[in-house]
């Protein structure tokens, strides 16, 4: 069983999955905050490899990516960070990035390096399954999960396709839009999750827009995991000592119990 699969094998446990951009605001922060998150009850950590043109991201993650790139954060740096983190923790680590940096690195080389440093899976928001066959050859070969995304606009046909091809879990985009903290999540969220649930037995995790414990609790009633990104980046801005971000994680963990 893969590390990601074992997270979802725990009965009635809702996975908490934070996202952070590697190198935001510094590589040191990433190396410090990820272990803190892991010990505060997170189940999987999404490490963002910054890309110059993040078209699925809203203002917060765009800014974080831009900043990280200015700090010289390359995929190579991200592999070093992942390797260091893997030494310190057992929970699954997944990379979230766009397709071009992976393509440029070389699909096979990228996946081989992921396996070597202890990365468990990949999330690539601009790679639908139609374009994913090449990468899947390498992820399978190296035992990585390739996590595909579904959106509220996905048709029944696409739900079948994405759910069948996704491995590890299926990433459900909660809303029609880009990443970024929202005050409210769409009313149709529950029916969207239920609709996907009818078509697959794979774990379903919901992300995009999640910014409060209340929202996380609502998602926990229907899904298997909650993904939080932009709100964490904002909290890293607010409090450089990382205290706010860590208490937010603890608060989310409690909400999911």
């Amino acid at each position: 069983m893969s590390r990601i699969a074992s997270v979802f094998a725990q009965a009635s446990h809702i996975a908490l999955i934070p996202y952070i951009t590697v190198g935001y605001p510094s590589v040191e922060t990433t190396l410090k905050v990820v272990p803190l998150f892991a010990s505060s009850g997170c189940d999987i950590i999404e490490l963002g490899i910054p890309f110059s043109d993040p078209l699925a991201d809203g203002a917060t993650i765009q800014r974080a990516s831009y900043h990280a790139l200015k700090q010289g954060v390359t995929p190579k740096v991200c592999f070093e960070v992942a390797q260091e983190l893997r030494r310190q923790m057992k929970i699954p680590l997944v990379f979230m990035t766009y397709y071009n940096p992976v393509l440029k690195f070389g699909l096979e080389q990228f996946c081989s390096k992921c396996a070597e440093v202890g990365i468990d899976g990949l999330i690539i928001p601009d790679l639908p399954p139609e374009e994913g066959q090449e990468l899947e050859k390498s992820t399978k070969k190296h035992g990585l999960d390739l996590i595909y995304l579904l959106a509220p606009t996905s048709t029944e046909e696409r739900i079948e396709l994405v759910a069948a091809r996704s491995s590890g879990f299926v990433y459900l985009v909660s809303l029609t839009g880009v990443t970024g903290a929202r005050d409210e999540l769409p009313r149709e969220l529950e029916s969207f999750v239920a609709n996907v649930r009818r078509r697959t037995e794979k774990p379903l995790c919901v992300g995009f827009g999640v910014s409060t414990a209340e929202q996380a609790r609502r998602i926990a009633k229907v899904a298997d995991g909650v993904i939080v990104g932009s709100r964490i980046i904002q909290l890293l801005d607010e409090d450089k000592s990382l205290g706010n971000a860590c208490s937010f994680i603890k608060c989310l963990r409690e909400a999911l119990l």
Partner: protein, 401 residues
Amino acid sequence: MKKDRQLPDSQGYFGQFGGRFVPETLMPALNELEAAYQKAKHDPSFWAEFDSLSRDYSGRPTPLYFAERLTKHCRGAQIFLKREDLLHTGAHKINNALGQGLLAKRMGKRRIIAETGAGQHGVAAATICAKLGLDCVVYMGEEDIQRQALNVFRMKLLGAELRPVSSGTKTLKDAINEAIRDWVTNVRDTYYLLGSVVGPHPYPVMVRDFQSIIGKETREQILARCHRLPDYIIACVGGGSNAIGIFHAFVNDTEVKLIGVEAAGKGISTGKHAASLAAGTVGVLHGAKSYVLQDESGQILGTHSIAAGLDYPGVGPEHSYLKSIGRATYVAVNDKEALAAFQLLCQTEGIVPALEPAHAVSYATKIAGTLPRDQIIVVNLSGHGDKDMDIVSKALGVTRG
């Protein structure tokens, strides 16, 4: 070459280039767009409306003009200009805006979004939206807003809402990112009127089809006048829509040399250029696999060109394909050479070209002198230069007035 007519394949690929690298949210919308376009494409009434508005509203056909004094100046091959600059709104962009505007209306989408670099596509989109009674939002980089002030004012006059883009390089690349983010958010009621042969399938093929009227007319006009096909077709390439538009009708005529001219900016060796095909590598940008300007980590590079419409780090996938099979050749012309050609065309022919096709004019004048007088060159004069007066006067150090 016959089978090339069938490209792209059902997945939107021209050879290894093209495809659909977009967030899942947009995949159903692209499928819907493809289906709607296929239906319209096979509906004679759609083309009847397109043709009648192309004639009565846009001003087609555009003339194929023999540039006699320019030809004499170059002392070589005969240079013809396909006068897309004479179209309504001053550039070829109206062909595509009209086609997609009619399609959006058929699809029942009332809100149109568009990106623009030089402002020509923004103006064309705003124009068609005004004509068809649709709402129009145009994304434009802050740097481009500065340097294309006249077009900014025109778009506003035409009733479009202009949204400045301050992220990244503040040029066309970022305007497209922002337009895609808007589309991801408002996909249910919004039509994305993309302005070039870039982006995810079906945009590259759809925009090509709407622009291919340029080459069809050119072919008929040159045959009527010279009783043979031209030896060279030369067009500037940013995203590449005017070039694909004039190339397409000649792709199977292998004796016709197709030359795309990219922007060498301050020189390829300086890194300040926009020559994706001449100096780029294969990557994925804005939903398609094609040549892109990127660093060794796959980050998209900033670009430079005096012509805002060429200032883009990617290029349409069909151009990458034509390059890969050797059917088209791509060269680059720098800012200074383009400016010189701009002035030369003003002085020899009384025609003020946009800075974008001035790159194509420059390359044509370069090779014309090396060719015998019975050779024929057709340059796609894709746009008018009114929008560039500020840039040109600054570059020449002239005070206007």
